[in-house]
């Protein structure tokens, strides 16, 4: 990348630096490693990047391989989306929070907003609110919104074509089917809807909670992608939940490699379903954590963009830039936050968000500083938004795209991350692919081992966590924080509503729709895509509940409680 003269100078300068080092520090060695174990030097020169081909490996923002950014100009033209998560209680409660965040300046692209709505755990796994086993969980960690009537309570007066509606529900199909039935009723054509589904059918296996058989889970993902490619070109069908891998223990390198291997598994299944890669690839997005190791996460991000572009072009033969762009919503680390001295988390999250901004993220979701204590309240949710607003408006960071690009250190670390990640991805392919890595428990074990190393280092005081194992406040002085609580009446009301909803329907019509859904499910297993999603929407129109829609899929695709959870 440099001419001979510059490299000669670099050698000379490095020599002088070494001599100074020896003189001042008497032979002491200075070295460090990243969180993922990549060795770093205390100082970098052009020599470290001499083998880099500037055009091929670094290039410009907006040009393949997009390492520097998807777009030639980013935040000056289009700031990242404020994608703050919200969801608790009844739809009405969540709507209040949505309106509050909108008032406080939560913004998306071009005048729209992204409502990043998280469903309660029962809905994640398609339990109706009155299922006995979910007692206690209804509306607790997310909103209970299970049919078109609930959607009206949640989204009335909101334009579903100008705003992004993000449906954070793990078993995507039942909630999505009800959403589409609702949108249709309001007169919004599906082709114009904007937003995101999760497509997390495979996630319950390693998360670990209720699971779909790993052999079939990706077929469900592909069915959703198939439907979206045909009917909803503006919709992002899949969100790769890499933040959850981080939460489980994965370091930055593992997050990168596992996240891409996971995306490859979805894309491979989409190819099996004979969807045009330029139709399904733009609908794949990633939810990535930015954690404590500041530069490593930025290098991870840059490597991620370059690797994804290469995968799209070389593995799937994509032609459209949109297929090669890495869509990321940075869900900054929760696991790095502490319950002790929770206000300190504001500082941590600001650093994580700064890292995400320097990485060129396309959306940000920041936890509240009370994340280790419970759901965010109005104040903590607003502060998370304020962090984003300060970074955007007060720092001038937005003026330059990929401001760390060209740093000898950053380019070296980005290459090291990429190289190491390919090794892991190849290792996964050799063991039979991502499905095998999941099924055998290898993936979970890798994350768990990292988690154990992390915790042991803290317990042995090899790693400092401010306010926890160092600078702790004695217990008797610890401040009391009020944990956010959901109205205890929520469950009773949600149960009443669902019972009433069932009582008002034409049962014969519901049964018929569910029977057809079950038949469409078996067609997917035979490789016949494109019938299941329409049948699920028909079932939603016939007022089948999310629990019933899910039940129609359980037998064909294999469903259960995670056996590995017992390991």
């Amino acid at each position: 990348m440099f001419d001979e003269n510059t490299l000669k100078q670099a050698k000379g300068v490095k020599q002088k630096w070494s001599e100074l080092l020896g003189k001042l520090y008497k032979g002491r060695e200075f070295k460090g490693t990243t969180e993922s174990g990549i060795p770093v030097k205390p100082f970098y020169t052009p020599e470290d990047v001499e083998d880099i081909d500037f055009e091929k490996d670094i290039g410009a923002p907006g040009l393949y391989p997009y390492m520097r950014d998807n777009y030639p100009i980013h935040y000056q033209y289009m700031p990242w989306i404020n994608q703050q998560t919200h969801g608790f209680g009844l739809p009405e409660h969540t709507r209040e929070r949505m309106d509050m965040l909108a008032r406080e300046g939560m913004k998306g692209y071009f005048g729209g907003r992204a409502y990043n709505i998280v469903w309660d755990v029962p809905s994640h796994f398609s339990y109706d609110p009155d299922a006995p086993e979910v007692h206690g969980y209804v509306g607790k960690d997310g909103v209970t919104c299970v049919n078109e009537e609930d959607f009206e309570r949640l989204l009335h007066d909101i334009d579903l074509t100008k705003n992004n509606i993000v449906l954070i529900a793990s078993d995507t199909i039942p909630v999505f089917a009800h959403y589409l039935a609702y949108a249709e009723k309001r007169g919004f054509p599906w082709s114009k809807l904007r937003g995101n589904t999760m497509n997390w059918f495979h996630v319950g296996w390693w998360w670990p909670s209720c699971y779909w058989d790993p052999k079939h889970a990706f077929k469900l993902c592909a069915e959703v992608a198939h439907f979206c490619a045909k009917e909803m070109p503006q919709w992002n069908h899949s969100n790769l939940e890499c933040h959850a891998m981080h939460g489980l223990g994965a370091n930055a390198l593992q997050e990168l490699a596992f996240g891409l291997a996971n995306a490859i598994a979805i894309a491979d299944e989409c190819m099996n379903a004979k969807i045009n890669p330029d139709s399904f690839m733009p609908g794949i997005g990633f939810q990535i954590a930015n954690g404590n190791d500041f530069f490593e996460y930025i290098a991870m991000f840059r490597a991620w963009r370059r690797m994804w572009a290469r995968i799209a072009k070389e593995r799937y033969g994509c032609k459209k830039p949109a297929s090669m762009h890495l869509r990321v919503h940075s869900h900054t680390s929760c696991i790095d936050l502490t319950a002790q001295q929770p206000l300190v988390n504001l500082i941590r999250t600001t650093l994580h968000a700064l890292g995400a901004m320097l990485s060129g993220t396309t959306a940000m979701e920041l936890p509240g500083y009370d994340e280790p204590l419970g759901l965010p309240n109005e104040e903590t949710a607003t502060l998370s938004l304020r962090i984003q607003q300060v970074l955007l408006h007060e720092t001038n960071i937005k003026n330059v795209v990929d401001p760390l690009g060209g740093s000898y250190y950053m380019e070296t670390l980005t290459n090291q991350m990429e190289e190491a990640a390919w090794k892991i991805i190849n290792q996964i392919e050799e063991m039979g692919g991502f499905v095998k890595a999941m099924e055998t428990g290898w993936l979970t074990k890798q994350c768990r081992d990292s988690a154990d190393r992390w915790r042991s280092k803290i317990d042995n005081n090899e790693r400092v966590v401010v306010g926890w194992n160092k600078y702790a406040i004695p217990e008797d002085k610890e401040l009391e924080y009020k944990v956010f609580n959901v109205d205890p009446e929520v469950e009773r009301i949600a149960v009443e509503r669902i019972k009433d909803y069932r009582a008002r329907r034409d049962q014969e019509k519901t049964n018929d729709a569910l029977k057809k859904l079950n038949e469409a499910a078996y067609r997917v297993l035979k490789g016949d895509y494109g019938h299941l999603m329409p049948a699920a929407i028909e079932a939603a129109r016939a007022k089948a509940t999310i629990g019933e829609i899910c039940d129609a899929l359980k037998k064909p695709f294999g469903w259960g409680y995670n056996v590995m959870a017992k390991a």
């Binding site: 755990v121 086993e133 206690g136 969980y137 909670s209 926890w468 009391e480 924080y481 009020k482």
Partner: protein, 141 residues
């Protein structure tokens, strides 16, 4: 029936739809390393925890949750333990995201120990041993 040589048996449980198990798996490993006999299981209804505890004849029950669902489930566990006359003989532990005043509330309703995020696990084994000792003293006196 108390056999001095018998290892202390601990049942740790997570709800079937609960997605987070990083903490409880760590606790599980620590307790195993400390020489306790540990059983890890899933539950659907709070009363199933007590049934499993009876079947496994455990000395300690640990329930983990990453949400405030403990506000609903733990009182039901306590009630079931009382109904089965097990409350005094079983050490009830709650772990996970328990913050603020909820810790006091749980201890007030009969929970023996609460281990929220970041709490030093080294203090747990002595608590359990102390509980067992006080029980066996009670039996012999």
């Amino acid at each position: 029936m108390s056999d001095e040589s018998r290892k202390i048996r601990i049942l740790l449980v997570k709800h079937v739809i609960e997605g987070h198990d990083r903490g409880v798996k760590f606790v599980l490993g620590k307790l195993r390393d400390e020489g306790f006999e540990t059983i890890y299981s899933l539950y659907r209804l709070p009363e199933e925890i007590v049934t499993q505890a009876q079947q496994e004849d455990v000395d300690v029950i640990g329930v983990t949750t990453s949400s405030t669902v403990y506000q609903v489930h733990i009182p039901e566990v306590v009630r079931c333990l009382e109904e089965n006359k097990m409350k005094d003989d079983v050490f009830l532990l709650v772990g996970g995201l328990v913050g603020g005043e909820d810790e006091k509330n749980l201890l007030g309703m009969g929970v023996d120990a609460v281990y929220g995020p970041g709490k030093d696990l080294g203090t747990l084994p002595p608590l359990i041993h102390e509980f067992k000792r006080s029980k066996s003293n009670k039996v012999s006196s």
